[in-house]
Symmetry: C2
Amino acid sequence: MEHPTDPSPRIDGPSLDPNDWQAMRQLAHTMVDDMLQFLKSVDTRPVWIPPSPTALSETNTPLPLEPTSPEQVYLTFRKNIMPFVKGNISPRHFSWVEGTGTVMGMMADMLAAGMNPNVTIGNHMAMAIDARVIEWCRQLMNMPDTTSGMLVSGGSMANITALSVARNSLYGGQIRRQGLLQTGRQLVVYCSSQTHNCVNKAVEALGIGSDYLRLIPVDEQFRIRVDLLKHQIAEDQAAGLQPFCIIGNAGTVNTGAIDPLDELLDIARAEDLWFHVDGAFGAVAKITHEFSPQLKAIEEADSLAFDLHKWFYVNYEVGCVLVRDRKTHRNAFRMEADYLTMHERGLASGPETLSNYGLELSRGFKALKVWMSFMEHGLNRYRTIVERNIAQARYLGDLVTKNAHFELMTPVSLNIVCFRYRFSVTEVDTQNELNRELLMRLHESGVATPSYTILDGKYCIRVNITNHRTQSKHLRLMLDKILELGIELDQ
Amino acid sequence: MEHPTDPSPRIDGPSLDPNDWQAMRQLAHTMVDDMLQFLKSVDTRPVWIPPSPTALSETNTPLPLEPTSPEQVYLTFRKNIMPFVKGNISPRHFSWVEGTGTVMGMMADMLAAGMNPNVTIGNHMAMAIDARVIEWCRQLMNMPDTTSGMLVSGGSMANITALSVARNSLYGGQIRRQGLLQTGRQLVVYCSSQTHNCVNKAVEALGIGSDYLRLIPVDEQFRIRVDLLKHQIAEDQAAGLQPFCIIGNAGTVNTGAIDPLDELLDIARAEDLWFHVDGAFGAVAKITHEFSPQLKAIEEADSLAFDLHKWFYVNYEVGCVLVRDRKTHRNAFRMEADYLTMHERGLASGPETLSNYGLELSRGFKALKVWMSFMEHGLNRYRTIVERNIAQARYLGDLVTKNAHFELMTPVSLNIVCFRYRFSVTEVDTQNELNRELLMRLHESGVATPSYTILDGKYCIRVNITNHRTQSKHLRLMLDKILELGIELDQ
């Protein structure tokens, strides 16, 4: 076959590959060395420093038109971005619920980006590893082998995916095509008032309306009041609404509370409702000897959302949704398309497209960092460190309780400790303001970064420990600094 | 302050950090060297080989309980995962619409995973870089400075986010709380029959129902029939339904067709409908001199979805949604939570939480690979390569047209070429079967991996060129192989 031998220059030319592979190799080694040194020495630095004015102004540039050398791009990163980390790689970071990441997870992300697959379709090894990680997650949670799942960006997407399946399982699956208006009955979802607001967001996105997310009050330990839940379900049924889903919390974001999941499961079964567990971080406690019984209902749940980048310490971003019944899961999302037809052989053969199990069609190889991390450490080591984080929270709770300067705001649950400094003022607002000021000064000191919440109108310093680097000395350092700042502020 | 000096061993112990940092450094260098060599030599290997039975069986292991050395984990990766790539890093990969990735993008993912921030909340530099990338995307598309946006996993999430904003902008924002049932009117969305099925999925997820996604027929060049669109809108209005959104395609997945966006914009404005553009890959042609005018309506669109991991060659996964009006965008998602309150100083100060602009709360630092890539190459270099891919598609179309063994199935649009081998049989089904068999053999040969689609009942070999490594010789190699396989199969 003859082809033109002198094609126009416009159809040939340099790629985006390095001009000089050897120079790029050296630069890549420098990047790796710098980052390893950065991680190795993390405890010698402030957990957080604010982005410098220089860093902000020097990166505040218009879209570049011309190239910059890789070395120069990296130098800018090194100078203006890398020093101003969020802090969650530090053993003294305790804000929100954020995992620490690992070195292997970091390198796995490099390998994944090098292979650069779209892990949704096609016969290639990343699809097999993705499936293997889902299977390992199922084994972790001891769910039945009918279970299917998806790796997603995190808890929000895991919850929205699970609630989509729950909703789409109604009316013989007609909601997908007919929408909610045609159903003629208002769907209602139930959860505790302490539930993470990503569930609100999911219920809104799905068109159900957050007015119909019943935020059931909690007991003094921030667990859903089962009696009030039953009452609300009965009331909604009497009003002609359609209850369809109960969400149980395996670890609330505020206080680490675990709802009485067994009781919720029983109600769901009795009322023929979908039972979903939001276990964003807390479901991980299923691997501990102590909490496994309390989380037994996960094994019977219709769906479960949990994160791997939180309490499994995997690097951002990766969460997981598991659905007890593969067929129901698939019926919620499956679609046909001419450009996605499966072939018997070749690249387009192989496992079913994963777009049949979720909202995404483009998916990176986030499974690799999970697979390499699980391989590197093994379940037993994770169990030791998760149990250690729980013990550390109790230890901190004890230290707080024993010191008259501090006030524990709720019993320690799982890995979360909410407390405050007892200022000598009595006004609630002033106590709140002073504790808030104390927290900001603590952050600014670089010693530790707990976060905050408000419980019963009271501002709390909130310590979440999902950190494999934390040792007990880091908790003592934090308390010492809080004490110092408290005394200073209490003048 | 006194603390117990001999804490229980359960509150202290080894982290998940390397036992031997120096050994991990060496391993990381090996990983980098292997991956760079792998990418540098990619054109010397088959574009695709199926996962070997050994690779599949050796990774088909239960959840590991005990640790494995990092070196051994990597060896398993090296042997059983890395060789069986999807193929889209190869200059001869033309399946679906998949980008190639770059070396800098790969290293950026390592750096991002090392810093490991959750880029949603807090005052840290990753938040500033994320905002900067959104601003650069806005500049790329020449949208007004009222525009806000979010980096998401890809086109599916970008489309669902945009359509959420569109839907939630109705009825003074009441849908978020009241849901769709209470609106009392059936919402209707319009797009061409060639629209990507992620839009179906979005419409289903949002509770609108895919029966109310009007798939308007297309003309002979697979562009939406504007006359039929107008007719359908009028009909729906007359039936008491509520049209609320028109979606225009800037590059359909099947054939690269660009809908008459200006006309769609005019209709949307006349009818007071939301105008969304799905430009998953095609919107990138906005940076070319030739297509910029044809894509002018993007500048006036209410929202735009496009991917950076496709035709901007950034590594998976990263897409972008832009919304013309920041306030409308924010009103669609904004929420309050006690654990997310912004502080004046400290880690919890700084930019507004990005969860106010999308469905996710956990977000990795995917902005970094975009930022480093844009810095490294600059817009002008991207323009050259995007224009080259378009020229390559036309060049391929010419080669196909000039050869009697081939049949071009539709005029080349943008970067997509649909053609087939002319077998001597006349039965449509047999032609289809033979072309399908040919494609599978082509994949198995490892020479090239185009994909396929079905146009007017005819099976087509479909070549998508979003590949910075492709040179014209790779297209000729592919055609030569197709010719050889065609002759062989036509016996």
